[in-house]
Amino acid sequence: MRADTEQEILKTELWWTALVIAIVTAIMLAIIYAGVVHHINPPSNIETIDPKTLHLTGEFTESNLGTRVEAGDQVTSRVVATQFAFQPQCIVVPSNRTVTLRFATPDVIHGILVTGTNVNTMIIPGYVSQVHTVFTKTGDLLMPCHEFCGLGHSQMWATVRVVPEDQFRPGPDGRASCDAR
Protein backbone atom coordinates (compact mmCIF):
# COMPACT_ATOMS: atom_id res chain seq x y z
CA MET A 1 0.00 0.00 0.00
CA ARG A 2 1.23 3.47 -0.84
CA ALA A 3 0.60 6.91 0.53
CA ASP A 4 1.91 8.97 -2.29
CA THR A 5 -0.76 11.58 -2.31
CA GLU A 6 -3.20 13.25 0.09
CA GLN A 7 -5.98 11.31 -1.63
CA GLU A 8 -4.40 7.99 -0.86
CA ILE A 9 -3.98 8.85 2.82
CA LEU A 10 -7.56 10.03 2.95
CA LYS A 11 -8.76 6.82 1.39
CA THR A 12 -7.12 4.73 4.13
CA GLU A 13 -8.67 6.91 6.79
CA LEU A 14 -12.11 6.61 5.23
CA TRP A 15 -11.83 2.85 5.09
CA TRP A 16 -10.95 2.76 8.76
CA THR A 17 -13.84 5.10 9.60
CA ALA A 18 -16.23 2.87 7.69
CA LEU A 19 -14.96 -0.15 9.58
CA VAL A 20 -15.45 1.51 12.96
CA ILE A 21 -18.97 2.63 12.00
CA ALA A 22 -19.76 -0.91 10.89
CA ILE A 23 -18.55 -2.32 14.21
CA VAL A 24 -20.54 0.16 16.29
CA THR A 25 -23.62 -0.46 14.18
CA ALA A 26 -23.31 -4.22 14.58
CA ILE A 27 -23.06 -3.88 18.36
CA MET A 28 -26.03 -1.49 18.48
CA LEU A 29 -28.06 -3.89 16.35
CA ALA A 30 -27.28 -6.71 18.77
CA ILE A 31 -28.46 -4.53 21.67
CA ILE A 32 -31.62 -3.53 19.82
CA TYR A 33 -32.26 -7.20 19.09
CA ALA A 34 -31.99 -7.99 22.81
CA GLY A 35 -34.42 -5.19 23.62
CA VAL A 36 -37.03 -6.08 21.02
CA VAL A 37 -36.90 -9.88 21.07
CA HIS A 38 -35.81 -10.69 24.64
CA HIS A 39 -37.27 -7.58 26.31
CA ILE A 40 -33.98 -6.80 28.03
CA ASN A 41 -33.69 -3.46 29.80
CA PRO A 42 -31.12 -1.88 32.03
CA PRO A 43 -32.60 -2.61 35.48
CA SER A 44 -33.42 0.91 36.55
CA ASN A 45 -36.23 1.81 38.91
CA ILE A 46 -36.95 5.29 40.16
CA GLU A 47 -38.82 4.48 43.36
CA THR A 48 -38.01 6.14 46.67
CA ILE A 49 -38.47 4.81 50.20
CA ASP A 50 -37.44 6.26 53.57
CA PRO A 51 -34.49 4.24 54.90
CA LYS A 52 -35.04 5.45 58.49
CA THR A 53 -38.50 3.87 58.71
CA LEU A 54 -37.91 0.97 56.32
CA HIS A 55 -38.38 -1.55 59.16
CA LEU A 56 -41.60 0.10 60.37
CA THR A 57 -43.73 0.64 57.30
CA GLY A 58 -45.35 -1.92 55.06
CA GLU A 59 -43.48 -3.60 52.30
CA PHE A 60 -40.01 -4.07 53.76
CA THR A 61 -40.91 -5.06 57.31
CA GLU A 62 -39.37 -8.31 58.49
CA SER A 63 -42.52 -10.43 58.18
CA ASN A 64 -43.11 -9.42 54.56
CA LEU A 65 -39.68 -10.36 53.21
CA GLY A 66 -38.99 -13.37 51.02
CA THR A 67 -40.77 -14.85 48.01
CA ARG A 68 -44.47 -14.46 47.43
CA VAL A 69 -46.83 -15.15 44.56
CA GLU A 70 -49.04 -12.13 44.14
CA ALA A 71 -51.99 -10.96 42.07
CA GLY A 72 -51.72 -12.09 38.45
CA ASP A 73 -49.37 -14.95 39.36
CA GLN A 74 -46.49 -12.54 39.65
CA VAL A 75 -43.59 -13.97 41.66
CA THR A 76 -41.97 -11.28 43.79
CA SER A 77 -39.10 -11.67 46.19
CA ARG A 78 -38.28 -8.91 48.67
CA VAL A 79 -34.88 -8.75 50.29
CA VAL A 80 -33.34 -6.26 52.70
CA ALA A 81 -29.59 -5.76 52.55
CA THR A 82 -28.33 -4.61 55.92
CA GLN A 83 -24.90 -4.52 57.48
CA PHE A 84 -23.79 -7.40 57.28
CA ALA A 85 -26.44 -9.82 56.14
CA PHE A 86 -29.31 -10.25 53.75
CA GLN A 87 -32.70 -10.82 55.22
CA PRO A 88 -33.83 -13.45 54.37
CA GLN A 89 -30.56 -15.25 53.79
CA CYS A 90 -32.10 -17.68 51.34
CA ILE A 91 -34.89 -17.08 48.82
CA VAL A 92 -36.60 -19.71 46.68
CA VAL A 93 -37.80 -18.91 43.14
CA PRO A 94 -39.18 -20.96 40.23
CA SER A 95 -37.22 -21.42 37.01
CA ASN A 96 -38.43 -20.35 33.55
CA ARG A 97 -40.85 -17.81 34.93
CA THR A 98 -40.54 -14.06 35.32
CA VAL A 99 -39.40 -13.27 38.84
CA THR A 100 -39.23 -9.79 40.34
CA LEU A 101 -36.49 -9.13 42.88
CA ARG A 102 -36.96 -6.06 45.05
CA PHE A 103 -34.19 -4.80 47.33
CA ALA A 104 -33.91 -2.02 49.89
CA THR A 105 -31.43 -1.06 52.59
CA PRO A 106 -31.81 0.82 55.87
CA ASP A 107 -28.13 1.72 56.22
CA VAL A 108 -25.43 2.08 53.58
CA ILE A 109 -24.88 1.33 49.89
CA HIS A 110 -24.77 -2.37 49.10
CA GLY A 111 -24.80 -4.19 45.77
CA ILE A 112 -25.80 -7.65 44.61
CA LEU A 113 -25.19 -10.02 41.79
CA VAL A 114 -26.50 -13.53 41.35
CA THR A 115 -23.76 -15.79 40.03
CA GLY A 116 -24.34 -17.25 36.57
CA THR A 117 -27.15 -14.83 35.73
CA ASN A 118 -27.49 -11.28 34.43
CA VAL A 119 -28.87 -10.04 37.77
CA ASN A 120 -26.66 -7.24 39.05
CA THR A 121 -27.72 -4.05 40.78
CA MET A 122 -26.71 -1.52 43.42
CA ILE A 123 -28.84 -1.14 46.54
CA ILE A 124 -28.90 2.49 47.57
CA PRO A 125 -30.44 3.89 50.76
CA GLY A 126 -33.58 5.80 49.86
CA TYR A 127 -34.41 3.75 46.76
CA VAL A 128 -36.00 0.43 45.96
CA SER A 129 -33.76 -1.51 43.56
CA GLN A 130 -35.65 -3.84 41.29
CA VAL A 131 -34.65 -6.49 38.77
CA HIS A 132 -37.02 -8.63 36.72
CA THR A 133 -35.50 -11.80 35.41
CA VAL A 134 -36.09 -15.35 34.26
CA PHE A 135 -33.81 -17.93 35.87
CA THR A 136 -32.98 -20.63 33.35
CA LYS A 137 -30.78 -22.91 35.46
CA THR A 138 -31.92 -24.62 38.65
CA GLY A 139 -29.84 -25.02 41.80
CA ASP A 140 -28.44 -22.93 44.62
CA LEU A 141 -26.96 -19.71 43.28
CA LEU A 142 -24.71 -17.50 45.35
CA MET A 143 -25.76 -13.88 45.85
CA PRO A 144 -22.88 -11.93 47.42
CA CYS A 145 -22.81 -8.27 48.38
CA HIS A 146 -20.46 -6.68 45.85
CA GLU A 147 -20.16 -3.19 47.26
CA PHE A 148 -17.94 -2.67 50.30
CA CYS A 149 -20.36 -1.86 53.12
CA GLY A 150 -18.24 -2.11 56.27
CA LEU A 151 -16.04 -4.50 58.23
CA GLY A 152 -18.36 -7.50 57.86
CA HIS A 153 -18.79 -7.08 54.09
CA SER A 154 -16.86 -10.21 53.16
CA GLN A 155 -19.28 -12.39 55.15
CA MET A 156 -22.35 -10.86 53.52
CA TRP A 157 -23.97 -13.27 51.09
CA ALA A 158 -27.28 -15.00 50.49
CA THR A 159 -28.54 -17.95 48.46
CA VAL A 160 -31.01 -17.89 45.58
CA ARG A 161 -32.55 -21.35 45.31
CA VAL A 162 -33.95 -21.87 41.81
CA VAL A 163 -36.29 -24.87 41.70
CA PRO A 164 -38.08 -26.44 38.70
CA GLU A 165 -41.47 -24.86 38.18
CA ASP A 166 -43.43 -27.94 39.25
CA GLN A 167 -41.49 -28.11 42.52
CA PHE A 168 -42.23 -24.51 43.38
CA ARG A 169 -45.13 -24.84 45.79
CA PRO A 170 -46.09 -21.68 47.62
CA GLY A 171 -48.30 -21.99 50.70
CA PRO A 172 -51.93 -20.87 50.87
CA ASP A 173 -50.80 -17.31 51.61
CA GLY A 174 -48.68 -17.31 48.44
CA ARG A 175 -45.40 -17.47 50.35
CA ALA A 176 -42.49 -19.76 49.62
CA SER A 177 -39.38 -20.09 51.75
CA CYS A 178 -36.23 -22.18 51.69
CA ASP A 179 -37.01 -23.87 55.02
CA ALA A 180 -40.42 -25.10 53.88
CA ARG A 181 -38.88 -27.39 51.29
Partner: protein
Protein backbone atom coordinates in the same frame (compact mmCIF):
# COMPACT_ATOMS: atom_id res chain seq x y z
CA UNK B 1 38.08 10.73 37.68
CA UNK B 2 36.84 12.88 34.88
CA UNK B 3 33.74 11.69 33.12
CA UNK B 4 34.19 11.09 29.43
CA UNK B 5 31.05 11.28 27.34
CA UNK B 6 29.67 7.98 26.12
CA UNK B 7 30.63 7.54 22.50
CA UNK B 8 27.00 7.04 21.43
CA UNK B 9 25.96 10.33 22.92
CA UNK B 10 27.93 12.27 20.39
CA UNK B 11 25.66 10.96 17.64
CA UNK B 12 22.58 12.28 19.49
CA UNK B 13 23.72 15.87 19.33
CA UNK B 14 21.19 17.75 17.16
CA UNK B 15 22.39 17.44 13.58
CA UNK B 16 23.92 20.53 12.07
CA UNK B 17 21.86 21.92 9.28
CA UNK B 18 24.35 21.19 6.57
CA UNK B 19 24.30 17.39 6.99
CA UNK B 20 20.53 17.02 7.70
CA UNK B 21 18.50 14.46 5.71
CA UNK B 22 16.93 16.38 2.91
CA UNK B 23 13.15 16.65 2.74
CA UNK B 24 12.88 14.65 -0.42
CA UNK B 25 14.50 11.61 1.20
CA UNK B 26 12.15 11.84 4.14
CA UNK B 27 9.13 11.97 1.84
CA UNK B 28 10.35 8.89 0.05
CA UNK B 29 10.52 6.91 3.28
CA UNK B 30 7.15 8.06 4.55
CA UNK B 31 5.43 7.07 1.31
CA UNK B 32 5.55 3.35 2.09
CA UNK B 33 2.70 2.58 4.53
CA UNK B 34 3.73 -0.10 7.07
CA UNK B 35 1.28 -2.82 6.17
CA UNK B 36 2.29 -4.86 9.24
CA UNK B 37 0.85 -2.19 11.51
CA UNK B 38 -2.37 -2.24 9.53
CA UNK B 39 -2.61 -6.01 9.82
CA UNK B 40 -1.95 -5.86 13.54
CA UNK B 41 -4.65 -3.26 14.15
CA UNK B 42 -7.17 -5.23 12.10
CA UNK B 43 -6.33 -8.37 14.02
CA UNK B 44 -6.68 -6.80 17.48
CA UNK B 45 -9.90 -4.99 16.64
CA UNK B 46 -11.24 -8.17 15.08
CA UNK B 47 -10.38 -10.28 18.11
CA UNK B 48 -11.94 -7.76 20.48
CA UNK B 49 -15.12 -7.73 18.43
CA UNK B 50 -15.15 -11.51 18.26
CA UNK B 51 -14.77 -11.74 22.05
CA UNK B 52 -17.65 -9.32 22.52
CA UNK B 53 -19.94 -11.29 20.25
CA UNK B 54 -19.01 -14.62 21.77
CA UNK B 55 -19.78 -13.29 25.27
CA UNK B 56 -22.98 -11.74 24.01
CA UNK B 57 -24.28 -14.79 22.16
CA UNK B 58 -23.06 -17.57 24.44
CA UNK B 59 -23.10 -15.97 27.89
CA UNK B 60 -25.35 -12.91 28.03
CA UNK B 61 -28.35 -14.08 25.98
CA UNK B 62 -28.57 -17.64 27.43
CA UNK B 63 -28.54 -16.22 30.94
CA UNK B 64 -32.01 -14.92 30.36
CA UNK B 65 -33.87 -11.68 30.38
CA UNK B 66 -33.32 -8.83 32.84
CA UNK B 67 -35.23 -5.60 32.95
Amino acid sequence: MALTPHPDLSSQVPPRTDDAIDDAALERVMREVPSGALALSLLTVGLLLLAWFLMYAFVFLPRGMVG
